[in-house]
Symmetry: C3
């Protein structure tokens, strides 16, 4: 034992001659950046412009970025779209553009689309990245991921919409989607919001295949996101939904649900790259 200890005792040099250690520590080096192909899937109450600053930054540093806008969003006036229609449109987009080795990124509602799209075109995908995004259980639906009182509130708003859409009142949006932003930024973001087609919130998703796919996964967690009320461990982005991924890579940053990504593209692009690289 003592011999072993003597042999493995690490250098009195650390004690008496610190100088020589200055040459030794591994120098953190800037790794060669991988050139990746990103497909970015926005969430509810958003359109492709949600990703503009992130896409610009990812492109600037050498990646290839696609931002499909799926049915029921942007200029599409159809408010009765289903989750499977959205899913198919994104899968078609990936096939039509002949994309391979895709980093498929979903934000918020987009997470559920990452799950369903992965079932249609698994061979095109290199990694799935969830940015404070839903990870739905097999047979579950989005509405399962909110406390009943919130779902009830949503249902009243949907009923009063007259066209099966859900629009968030500004005070709720300001405090829980853009809590870190200034009022004028929050208002500007809110002004771009259209009522969200409600149907996909209540559609059961079949995700058995997703949960069997061997595609690597990452979860990027924005730490100040309160879009799903905190305090009940049966709800929430992380670790509640993230842990459903099984083995995944965790990346965290300070940010809220919506404004950080829209206002600080450089930061979020950097974290998405850390999530996406091999």
């Amino acid at each position: 034992m003592q011999a072993n200890i003597q042999a493995t005792y690490v250098q009195p040099a650390w004690t008496y001659s610190p100088g020589i250690w200055r040459q030794d520590p591994p120098v953190p080096h800037r790794d060669h950046v991988q050139s990746l192909t990103f497909v970015l899937i926005h969430g509810s109450w958003a359109d492709a412009s949600f990703w503009t600053p992130v896409a610009a930054e990812l492109t600037r540093v050498g990646h290839t970025v696609y931002v499909p806008e799926y049915p029921g969003h942007g200029n599409d006036p159809n408010t009765n779209v289903s989750h499977s229609t959205m899913t198919k449109s994104i899968a078609d987009f990936i096939i039509q553009h002949n994309l391979h080795d895709v980093i498929l990124v979903g934000h918020s509602f987009g997470g559920s689309l990452v799950q369903t799209v992965s079932q249609l075109v698994p061979d095109r995908l290199k990694r799935l990245v969830f940015l404070n995004a839903f990870v739905i259980q097999d047979g579950g639906m989005l509405a399962d991921e909110f406390p009943p009182a919130v779902v009830e509130q949503f249902q009243q708003l949907i009923k009063s919409s007259g066209n099966n859409t859900l629009m968030l009142p500004f005070p709720l949006f300001r405090e829980t989607f853009t809590n870190l932003a200034s009022l004028s930024d929050a208002q500007r973001i809110y002004n771009g919001v259209k009522p969200e087609p409600a149907r996909p919130f209540f559609e059961k998703l079949h995700l058995k295949k997703f949960y069997a796919l061997p595609i690597p996964k990452s979860y990027v967690h924005l730490l100040e996101d309160t879009a799903i009320p905190l305090g009940d461990p049966r709800y929430g982005w992380h670790p509640h939904m993230s842990s459903r991924l099984g083995l995944y890579r965790l990346i965290q940053l300070h940010g809220d649900h919506m404004s950080t990504t829209m206002l600080n593209g450089e930061l979020v692009a950097r974290k998405l790259y850390e999530a996406a690289r091999d």
Copy 2:
């Protein structure tokens, strides 16, 4: 469907001509700072000087700041004050100084005073801000918010005080109120501490009105605060007590229970402003 996809496909430009995107991302801009009126309510084992660095910084950037010191603290030798006496003194202060549109900020014990003061002068208040502060349930008391073993320890300390006060031993204070500070800073802060009147810890608070008030609320969470023991989800600042606020704005920063606010006024003032602005 395909037409829709084609129509909403966002620019091959992102892929092939990153240059043009450099002009497009929304530039985060420095919003015009709102000039706000803050009333800052310190917590237990503190007096108005707790806020000096924060108040100085808030004032420097253009806000108006009031720091009332309530009965049983500072130079007031009365150790038998009640929660309602403290509450009334702060409400009177707001009325006497003819304050309106007040951002009422409470730290720690001060959170329970924010709750009760808001019931007396709701029309004077623009927003309630809790900085790792108690949010007591209707009919509850401060002692409810500590595990029974801690309450028992407190009761022994109170008993041994001889005058119904509670003084924290330095080792406890150093590790759980000033964990991020140097020893000399922790000692300097501790040297300013007076035994805390214990009566309000065990007084039931009637807060039905507070929970019905439509005044906007924010919770500012210091991430390294261990003043309430961690690890039991039935206790703690955030998300346990914060979630009682219902809809609230979350702001987070790295910091401990007491020293960060007293030593890094600039940081805490910035976060309080982010919590307080419209």
Copy 3:
């Protein structure tokens, strides 16, 4: 009451003459750095070189650092070592080098050794520091701290080793021990990993004395560590295991289980000092 309020009303000066306050706030000062003696205990799948950058930095700023490599690690080919053999070797090391007032730091598995070593040489120790390290219950074992599904996976890997060791597959290691690192850094770290002697994972530890020792304790929490799966409150570094320490000082930083310490010695050394100082 009113008189009291008048007396304690803190300065209209804050409102009207901010200038004078610029001189008043306590200036955060660089405290004189204490010169401390660190003994750094690495964890599983590591050897003394794990601490090289941290030890270099601690030494550079004036501390004395010892990094014992314990049996079953580094150049010791013995894979059948017990927890008590490891414990005794470290205690012997401390005695042989005549160390006193030691800051005993354990990372990961090293936390359990900090616990057992403290029982053998309590009078030599000034403070115990846990860096995302195990804090085992009296009568418990390391295997208790992983969900049963993970333990089962470990047992299969041990069985297939043929020599009672446990080696982590690279994909698991990359995502949960080095999630913040580049692939090349993760590979470089993994290339230095040797299969870990499995016996100590399943040995019951008698820790009654540890839980009665009055030695101050700190827990340094790396926020992006997923080496123990997250999402189940019955498992995890902090606050699950940290809270077993009773009174302890919490320090937090962003980092993963292994790469941050090995690649960013300056940051981790600074946090260890904040954890270690009086």
